[in-house]
Subunit: 352 residues, 2 copies
C-alpha cells in the first residue's frame, strides 16, 4: 500500500517539515508501506508575495486526490496580516474539506518538564475535540460608521444542529473507546445567551444515545481553571471552535509545552483529505535558527498514519518520540535539552 | 464620613457575606469612618421562587443611592437556569449602571499553595482589565427552524469604538500607575475576523497616547498557555468581555485558587454605584456547609474601600488577609487549612 501525501510546510518554523517527513519515511520503511509525497509551496507568505494570494485557484486539484495533507504552520504577520494568511489557507482547508473535527491530545510525556507542580506522566492524558468549521470563527457581520466616534462592529457566531450534533457525537464515540468513558462539555451558557444554551441542549440530547458515557459540563472560564488545578479530571473534552482553540493550547501548556502538541483536522467520513499539523504556529521569533522543536510535526505525522489505518506505525513513532524525549541529548532547548531541530528529528528516525 | 453600601448576598456560598461585612466593619472602626448597610434579598433564587423574577421592578430605587454595592454570588441552577438568573441580576447591574470595567487582581499570596511549579509570591502579580458591558455577552441574535434538522442559531458579538476605547484607556491608565508600565492585549484577530481586528486597531490607536507604556498582544489561545508557562510576564492584561472572563478565572487559578479572588465592576465616572464581588460563583456543591472560603468576599470589600477612597483601610484589610493566610489555622480547607468560614472571617477581623 502506498499513501499519497500532500506536504505543505508553510511559514517560519513550519520548515521543521523535513523532520516530520523523516519520521514518516522511517516508519514506512519499517512497516512496509509506501509514501508518495507531493510538496507544495503555497499556503505561505512567500507564495503570497509572489502571487498576491495564499493559494492557487486550483488548489483543490492539487491536493484533492491526496490521502491526507501534512501541514507545517502558516503565518508571517510582517508580510501578510494573520487574518488574511489564515483565512485564505488553513481555514479554507478546514471548511472546504469539511474537516469538522479538530482533534488534539493533551498528554504529559516522560522527560518533558511540567509547569504544574507534582504532576507525573499518566496524570494528564485526555483529548480535546474541537468543532472546526462553524461557531465563533465566522466572517459574517459588519462594520458601521467606520472611522467615527459612532463606529460599531458586529460579528456573528453561527451554530447549526448539523454542526453541533456531529462533533458531540464524535466526542462520545471517542469516549466509548477509552477506559474512563467520560465527556466534559465546555459551555458559557450563563453569559453567551443564545448559542451556548443551544449547545448545551444538543449535548444533552446526544448524550442520551450514550448511556455508558458519564459526563459533566463547565463554563469555559472555570474550565480553564480546572485544566490547571485538576487536569487528571478530564478524559474527552468537547468544545466549540473558539473554546476548543483555547483549550487545546492551554491543555498542552499544562502538559509542558505547546511545542510538541499535534493535531488532526479530520473529515471522519473521508469524503475529503484530512489535514495534520502541529498546534504551534510559525513562531517568527525563533524561525530560521534551526532550534525549533520538530516533535509537534512528528507527532502530527503519527496521528496521520493512525488516521490512514497504520496504527502500528503510528505507535512506533510515538514510542520513538518517548525514547528521544527522555534524554537531554534528544530534547531541543525549549525542553531543557541540547538537540537542535535536525538532531532531534534524526534521533527519532534512528530510534524507529 | 459614612458610606451607604447596598449588600446583596445572593445564593449559595454568597452567604459568606457576613464575613465580608465583618471585615468592613472592623476596618471602619479602626479607620474612623461609618458604614450604613442596606441588606437586600433579591438577586437570588429564593427571591425568584417567591416573586417569579430575580429583582424587583424598582431595584434602581433600592440601590441607586448607595455609594457601592457589595455583592456575594448568584446562581442556583436547580431552581433557575443560569442564563436567566445571571442576565436578570448581575449582568443587569453591569449594564444598567455602566460598570464597564471589570477589574481583577491576579496575585500569588503568601501561604496559598500554588499549582504552578516553583512560583513564589511576587512572581505572579498582575491585573486583568475586562470589558464588562458589550462584546461577546449579548442577547442579540436568533434561532431558526427550532427543533428540526435545519436548526440554526446566531449570536452577535457587538463592539463599539466607545466601548473598546474606554476600557483600553483604563488599562493604560492603570499601567501608568504601576512600576512596569506594561499592557498586554488579548486578541484573536487570526480567527475572529471582524471584531478582533477592530479591537487590535483601537488598541494600537489608544496606545499612541501612552508613549511611556510598553505593550504586546497575544491571541487568546496562546495567552492562556502563557499564563501557565510565564505568569511573571504580565502587568496589566486588557481583554474583551469573554476573554477577560476566561483570563480572570484562569489567572487566579494559576495563583492558587479562584476561592480568594475579588473583583470590581466599576463605573469609573462614578455616575452610578460600582459593584464588588468575589470571582467565585455560588458553588452549590459546597454551599451551606460553613466551609466556603470568605477571603474572596473580604478582598472584594478591600477593593470597594479603595474605590471609595479609603486606601489605608483597604491596605489594612489586605495585610490582615495576608497574616491569616499564612497560618494553617487561618486558612479554610480548600487551602489545606483547618478554619471554617466563620473562624477565617473572625481571624481577619481580629488581625485588623
Ligand atoms: C456568572 C457569569 C455570568 C459571570 C460572567 O461570565 O461574567 C462570571 O463568570 C464572572 O466572571 O463574573
Ligand atoms: C492560526 C489560527 C487561526 C488557528 C485557530 O485559531 O484555529 C490556530 O490557533 C489553531 O488552533 O489551529
Amino acid at each position: 500500500r502506498t499513501y499519497r501525501i500532500a506536504v505543505i510546510a508553510g511559514d517560519g518554523i513550519g520548515k521543521v517539515m523535513p523532520e516530520g517527513v523523516r519520521a514518516l519515511e522511517a516508519a514506512a520503511r519499517s512497516h512496509g508501506f509506501g509514501l508518495e509525497l507531493d510538496w507544495h509551496d503555497f499556503a505561505s507568505a512567500d507564495y503570497y508575495v509572489r502571487h498576491g494570494r495564499m493559494m492557487p485557484e486550483d488548489w483543490k486539484e492539487k491536493v484533492g486526490t491526496a490521502d491526507a495533507i501534512f501541514f507545517g504552520a502558516v503565518g508571517w504577520p510582517e508580510v501578510v496580516p494573520d487574518h488574511i494568511s489564515l483565512w485564505e489557507s488553513l481555514l479554507q482547508f478546514r471548511r472546504e474539506y469539511d474537516q469538522y473535527v479538530n482533534l488534539r491530545p493533551v498528554r504529559l510525556m516522560p522527560g518533558v518538564p511540567c509547569p504544574l507542580a507534582g504532576r507525573q506522566p499518566g496524570d494528564i492524558d485526555f483529548w480535546v475535540v474541537r468543532e472546526n468549521t462553524e461557531g465563533e470563527y465566522s466572517a459574517v457581520g459588519g462594520h458601521m460608521f467606520p472611522g467615527t466616534e459612532r463606529e460599531v462592529v458586529i460579528q456573528e457566531t453561527v451554530m447549526t444542529r448539523h454542526g453541533v450534533d456531529r462533533i458531540v457525537r464524535f466526542a462520545f464515540d471517542l469516549a466509548m473507546k477509552r477506559e474512563r468513558r467520560h465527556v466534559t462539555s465546555a459551555t458559557k451558557s450563563n453569559g453567551i445567551a443564545i448559542t451556548m444554551p443551544f449547545w448545551d441542549g444538543r449535548v444533552d440530547a446526544i448524550a442520551q444515545e450514550y448511556p455508558d458515557v458519564t459526563r459533566d459540563k463547565y463554563h469555559i472560564d472555570i474550565l480553564t481553571a480546572q485544566f490547571v488545578l485538576n487536569p487528571q479530571r478530564f478524559d474527552v473534552v468537547v468544545a466549540s471552535n473558539l473554546f476548543g482553540d483555547i483549550l487545546s493550547d492551554l491543555g498542552p501548556a499544562c502538559a509542558g509545552t505547546i511545542g510538541i502538541a499535534p493535531s488532526g483536522n479530520i473529515n471522519p467520513e473521508r469524503a475529503h483529505p484530512s489535514l495534520f499539523e502541529p498546534v504551534h504556529g510559525s513562531a517568527p521569533d525563533i524561525a530560521g535558527q534551526g532550534i525549533a522543536n520538530p516533535v509537534g510535526q512528528i507527532w502530527s505525522g503519527a496521528m496521520m498514519l493512525e488516521h490512514l489505518g497504520e496504527a502500528e506505525a503510528a505507535a512506533a513513532i510515538m514510542s520513538a518520540v518517548e525514547d528521544v524525549l527522555q534524554t537531554p541529548a534528544g530534547r531541543t532547548r525549549d525542553l531543557k535539552g541540547s538537540a537542535d531541530t535536525v538532531s532531534c528529528g534524526k534521533a527519532v528516525a534512528a530510534s524507529l
